[in-house]
Amino acid sequence: MPPRRQAAAATGVPPVSYGFAVPEFLRIATAAVALALAAFGFFTAWRGRPPVRAHLYGVAVLELFVLALVITTVVSWARGHRVHEPATLGGYLFAFLIVPPAGVGLARMEPTRWGSLIIGVAGLVEAVLVLRLQQLWSGSA
């Protein structure tokens, strides 16, 4: 990640090798899956249809990406990445993990167009959280 390396170089701290960095592509892929799920949910809601199995599969795929991102983040963190607001980052990671299952739980109680809207909102929130996590991680928040 170029911005972080530059920041580290500017403060005179050599960039730490974690074995692996939180990969940029994982972030982009997670955001893309989240936005695709949001579009799917919003489109279904717009058509006035309740969520179907495909929405559940979409949420499951998103949650896998979320898990991968959370695990890589926590591992890098444990290996010494310095975070400005550790408690806030922890809170965001927690929210990041629970939003998809919470959305599915509520959507299953609401087999109407509004259930689809909940899935869409969950996807949108996850995409925003990817961005916020990145800001917190790199200290630019």
Binding site: P50, T88, A95, P111, I118
Partner: protein, 149 residues
């Protein structure tokens, strides 16, 4: 994309209340429960962190954050529980929220020095994509709309 109509997931186990009262729990209300639940969680966590770690920096802002979180939580619970009493409490919550976001938003524009650290309501909720400003309006519309029955 599969055929949408066949395999609908989930069941609506609780039918709308037959009392003739306004049903705030179901339909769009559940979307509000989801969004308000998220805001209650995030505002609450944020206020807790702020008050626990750096209360002296901006006590007013952090107490406002805590107040906002409490109101979000109350609104979430009321929307989820439903019924006429809950609806009235939720109307009060949304009204206080709307007043709060407008007052704090205006105050933070006029006197930024009074708010050294951001609250959920600073700048009319600009830090949260103006969702804090839009939500109470949508919530009031949902609660005060013409009854379905």
């Amino acid at each position: 994309m599969p055929e949408d109509q066949e395999q609908v997931v989930g069941t609506d186990e609780s039918a709308p209340t037959p009392t003739g009262g306004r049903d705030i729990q179901h339909g769009f209300g559940r979307v509000l429960v989801f969004v308000y639940g998220l805001f209650a969680l995030s505002a609450g966590a944020r206020a807790t962190v702020q008050i626990a770690t750096k209360f002296h920096v901006a006590p007013v802002a952090y107490l406002l954050s805590a107040l906002a979180a409490a109101i979000y939580l109350a609104a979430t619970v009321c929307l989820a529980v439903g019924g006429e009493r809950a609806r009235r409490i939720a109307v009060a919550c949304f009204s206080v929220e709307l007043a709060g976001v407008l007052a704090v938003g205006t105050a933070s524009e006029i006197r930024p020095s009074a708010f050294p650290d951001a609250t959920v309501w600073s700048g009319f909720g600009s830090g949260y994509g103006f969702v804090p400003l839009v939500l109470p309006v949508i919530g009031l519309w949902w609660l005060l709309r013409t009854p379905r029955s």
